[in-house]
């Protein structure tokens, strides 16, 4: 098949046929539709809501497309003749236009000749409701499910009737379940005990907060004792499940915070842990990675989704080269003098900060989140997992695996391990230790750059980005045990989870303090961290 006709196109064809049959009626509908549509241009927000209501009552086949476009900021009018158009994509230039009446393409035109018809919160709320009624018959399952959820929020008689109608023809089980929940909520308002008990039974399988609120209200002021008891037990079941899911959520939050900690610390674990260099510019190497992401997005503005994949190796190279430069120019003269190294790298960090301030200005730069990284994956009504965190956990695991692979399976890794275990012996065996030092430092710096790409998706890309993460990264390395990458992984993850377990009770400020205090106490008991390096080499340091 050459191409699959989309649902929208089928609808248009059908409508066109139907329209030809009832040409007269249609042209009348068109006129009233167009006159209402034209009123949208100048109306206030509350008037727009009224017009939207009237538009949906005309029953015109384009209503849904027009209202959806208005909701999604895609409704424009041409400045020269005030004619209204739907744009396929909002804010593109040129705009890809669609005629609102025939829903046929109307070519494209430069964006500055058009004015967008704006919406505000109140209007968007009304529009969502109205559009939901139309979406109930959408061929897309997720659209239907969202429509039912939207309609559940305001169950008036026509809505309930519409839901019942849909329930009879719905084939998808998950949508069916949502509709059943919605209808059960409506049934609760009845007077007969039996259907109400049945409704409570249906609702007890839901974990939605709205259902819970409805049942809790029922428990508070229900006269019928049978219904009340049923509601109490249903409420208990729902709460049990909700607690369970909220625990899973907390665990996920902890893992995601932990993976960020691991990501920012792992580069340091190599430079500080393996080489013994206290690199205060580690945060700025991450910052360089974030700015690289910004620069890559600026170079390829049309491909934001793909830009991340270009940024990761680019950031590795940029920060890695900077790391090698630092090692060759400064750090190699300071081996064995930790205090001087600390001060020198601190100086480098200030220079790098001022450098980006001069190049990119002191203002934060806007790194766009690609669409596939925003939003969340809905597990059920009580649990949703945000995509950006999920990707960052995955990214951390991949980066960690790659580092392990490089250290254990490549020549460079062998050299690094040899030099870190016994420099003199390695040298005697013919390893160019100086070259290995530069490469190791560059490798650690490159990993920091990759962490910067991830951070650009979580926080501000600005000159101060590095400073806010440097302390955390040192904490993780010290906690995990200097010189042990697995220690950093376990250490970072457990710190993340510990922090997130405390946060709901202690608040963000106190949670962080508790973690610090716990760390200090821990270091008192085990000064070498979770997984100290064993053997004589470690004692020498």
């Amino acid at each position: 098949m050459k191409h699959i006709p989309s649902g929208g196109r089928q609808v248009i064809i059908l409508l066109a046929l139907w329209g030809a049959a009832s040409l007269l009626a249609q042209s009348q509908k068109d006129t009233s539709f167009v006159s209402k549509l034209d009123a949208l241009r100048e109306a206030s927000y509350s008037d727009k809501a009224l017009i939207a209501e009237q538009l949906s009552q005309t029953g015109h086949p384009s209503v849904r497309a027009v209202l959806t476009a208005l909701l999604e900021d895609r409704l424009y009018y041409r400045n020269t003749d005030q004619k209204i158009f739907i744009a396929k994509v909002s804010d593109s230039d040129p705009l890809d236009l669609v005629d609102p009446l025939s829903l046929k393409g109307a070519g494209s035109a430069p964006a500055d000749g058009f004015t967008k018809i704006g919406t505000n919160n109140g209007l968007r709320h009304t529009l969502k409701m109205t559009v939901a009624h139309f979406s109930l018959s959408s061929p897309d399952v997720s659209v239907r499910r969202d429509a039912v959820r939207e309609m559940m929020l305001s169950l008036d008689e026509p809505t309930v009737a519409l839901l019942r109608q849909r329930a009879a023809v719905e084939t998808n089980s998950s949508v069916k379940k949502e509709i059943a929940t919605g209808l059960a909520l409506a049934d609760l308002d009845g007077t007969d005990t039996k259907p109400r008990l049945a409704a409570i039974e249906v609702l007890s399988h839901s974990v939605s907060q709205d259902v819970r609120n409805r049942l809790a209200a029922l428990v508070d002021d229900e006269k019928d004792e049978k219904v009340r008891q049923a509601a109490i037990s249903a409420l208990r079941t729902i709460d049990r499940w909700r607690t369970f899911y909220s625990d899973i959520e907390t665990l996920f939050f902890g893992l995601s915070l932990g993976s960020v900690l691991v990501l920012i610390a792992i580069g340091l674990a190599i430079t500080f842990g393996v080489m013994g260099v206290i690199n205060m510019a580690h945060g700025e190497l991450m910052m360089l990675g974030s700015y690289t992401t910004f620069a890559v997005q600026a170079v390829m503005p049309g491909h934001i989704g793909a830009s991340i994949f270009v940024s990761i190796p680019a950031a590795f190279i940029v920060s890695g080269l900077m790391g090698i430069l630092m090692e060759r120019a400064i750090i190699r003269f300071l081996y064995g003098r930790p205090l001087e190294t600390l001060l020198a790298t601190f100086g480098v960090s200030l220079i790098l900060q001022q450098l980006v301030r001069s190049i990119f200005s002191a203002l934060n730069r806007s790194v766009i989140t690609p669409d596939w990284m925003s939003g969340s994956m809905r597990i059920n009504d009580a649990l949703a997992i945000t995509y950006n965190r999920l990707y960052i956990i995955t990214f951390t695991i991949i980066v960690f695996a790659l580092i392990m692979l490089v250290l254990k399976r490549t020549r460079l890794g062998l050299d690094i391990r040899a030099v870190s275990q016994n420099r003199a012996m390695a040298k005697a065996m013919g390893i160019r230790t100086e070259w290995v030092d530069a490469m190791t430092f560059g490798f650690g710096a490159g990993i920091a750059g990759m962490a910067g790409v991830a951070l650009s998706q979580l926080t501000n890309v600005g000159p101060n980005l590095g400073q806010s993460y440097i302390i955390d990264s040192f904490m993780v390395v010290v906690f995990g045990g200097v010189g042990n990458l697995w220690g950093s992984l376990i250490g970072g993850m457990s710190m993340g989870i510990f922090n997130k377990l405390l946060e709901p009770y202690a608040g963000a400020v106190l949670a962080k303090i508790f973690v610090l205090v716990a760390l200090i106490l821990f270091i008192q008991i085990r000064p070498r961290g979770l997984f100290p390096k064993a053997g004589r080499a470690a004692e020498d340091k």
């Binding site: 804010d91 505000n120 919160n121 939050f253 989140t369 939003g375 501000n460 600005g462």
Partner: protein
């Protein structure tokens, strides 16, 4: 040899600066600019430094002030609070400036306050703040809580029908005091304590997952809920991103912010913010001839047509114009006389209203509520009828209910109307 030549150069330099100082003192007026140009606050404060320079530039084109040329003295306190006091002392004692425009954070203002009071300087402070202060030596051209926070809460309560409140702030003095005032105000309006949740996060907080989940939970109790955000600076972007990712839209739980303006939005991917609210006394999108002229002038001065304008810039503009008027009226730059002239002076603001200096050293300002649009600008959804006079001491806090500030008749910034005692900032 080397040391000798160094010494000679140094003495020549000193002599030179003394001479030039003497020559300059006769025909110029020095204007101090005390804004951080490096460190964390540089992002916001650099813009204000440029605004002052632009205003000075324009005044000089008009022929200066009292026939003298205005000369800016720019120092960089580097977002370092003790350094603010040091630099303020340098401006007042060494450079002998006639006026200082500066400070952003409340802690920097508190840090320079003793210096200004000791040296009897004059500071124009252009940022919205928590109130509970009135100094003889400071003119507050930003909003007091009753010119920003309280009207915003009123809007949500009356127009949006909000019944449940989350006061979310960064952990420092401005959010803590503002939230204290708001909490007292909400309770006075009959909001039950269990419908108010107050929470603080550290500076630069970036892991908002737990907080946003808690907001979601608090907001799904069946009553309309809103977040009043005094979250400051860099922490905002991850906050809004997380709200977007956890699918909390402005239609469900609106967030009204007091620290998010056009400048902050220019470095942000605005997609997840559309529809969120901000309360300010100025928006770049407000269409008046004065505002258009100001924006054009700014673009020409900064040589970048994409730079935005914002509320503290307008406050700086108002402060500068007020100072110029006061100097012209007093016919001197002597701070004592200028300070005495300021109360009662009026100057048009950029949104079609009049900014008038009140006896408590605050000014009258209109209040606007705007919704964030996709292009990073605001769509004004509500405005106060007329201007609101700034109230230094909040009427909703038990500690400051009876306190008045009046530098015209009472000559006191902290006068208790019950005990009739002037404490604190008191200069006889």
């Amino acid at each position: 040899m080397k040391r000798k030549s160094l010494l000679m150069t140094a003495s020549a330099l000193i002599a030179g600066s003394i001479f030039s100082g003497l020559a300059a003192a006769q025909d110029v007026i020095k204007v101090g600019v005390l804004h951080s140009l490096s460190g964390t606050m540089a992002i916001s404060e650099t813009t204000l430094k440029d605004t002052v320079l632009m205003m000075i530039d324009e005044q000089n084109k008009k022929g200066g002030l009292l026939g003298k040329k205005l000369v800016p003295v720019v120092v960089d306190p580097a977002s370092n609070w003790p350094l603010f006091a040091e630099k303020a002392a340098q401006l007042l004692e060494k450079d002998k400036v006639s006026v200082v425009f500066g400070c952003w954070t409340s802690v920097s203002r508190k840090s320079v306050l003793p210096v200004f009071e000791k040296d009897n300087g004059l500071l124009f402070y252009p940022v919205q703040y928590e109130g509970e202060e009135s100094s003889k030596n400071v003119i507050y051209t930003g909003a007091a809580p009753n010119q920003q926070a309280i009207p915003a809460v009123d809007y949500l309560m009356k127009e949006v029908g909000v019944k449940r409140w989350i006061l979310e702030g960064t952990d420092y003095v401005y959010p803590r005091t503002t939230n204290k005032i708001l909490e007292a105000y909400l309770k006075a309006k009959g909001v039950k304590p269990e419908d108010i949740s107050v929470n603080y996060t550290p500076f630069g907080f970036s892991d908002w997952q737990t907080r946003v989940a808690a907001i979601k939970k608090f907001g799904s109790a069946g009553k309309k809920t809103a977040v009043v955000s005094t979250v400051n600076g860099d922490a905002n972007v991850p906050f809004y991103k997380e709200l977007g990712n956890q699918k909390i839209s402005a239609e469900d739980i609106p967030v009204v912010a007091f620290s998010v303006g056009e400048e902050e939005l220019s470095g942000v991917d605005t997609k997840p913010l559309v529809g969120e609210l901000a309360a300010w006394n100025y928006f770049e999108s407000i269409k008046t001839p004065a505002n258009k002229a100001f924006i054009d002038q700014w673009h020409a001065f900064i040589k970048n047509p994409k730079r935005t304008t914002n509320d503290p810039m307008e406050a700086t503009y108002i402060g500068f114009n007020l100072w110029v008027k006061a100097v012209e009226k007093a016919k001197t730059t002597d701070t004592e006389k200028v300070i005495a002239t300021l109360p009662g002076l009026q100057t048009p603001n950029l949104t079609g209203g009049i900014a008038k200096v009140l006896p408590n050293h605050h000014i009258t300002k209109p209040v606007f509520i705007g919704e964030v649009k996709a292009d990073g600008q605001f769509n004004v959804v509500w405005k106060s009828s007329g201007v609101v006079p700034g109230d230094a001491w909040s009427d909703f806090l038990p500690g400051s209910k009876n306190i008045e500030a009046d530098w015209v008749t009472l000559k006191c910034g902290n006068y208790n109307t019950v005990t009739k005692v002037c404490s604190g900032q008191n200069f006889k």
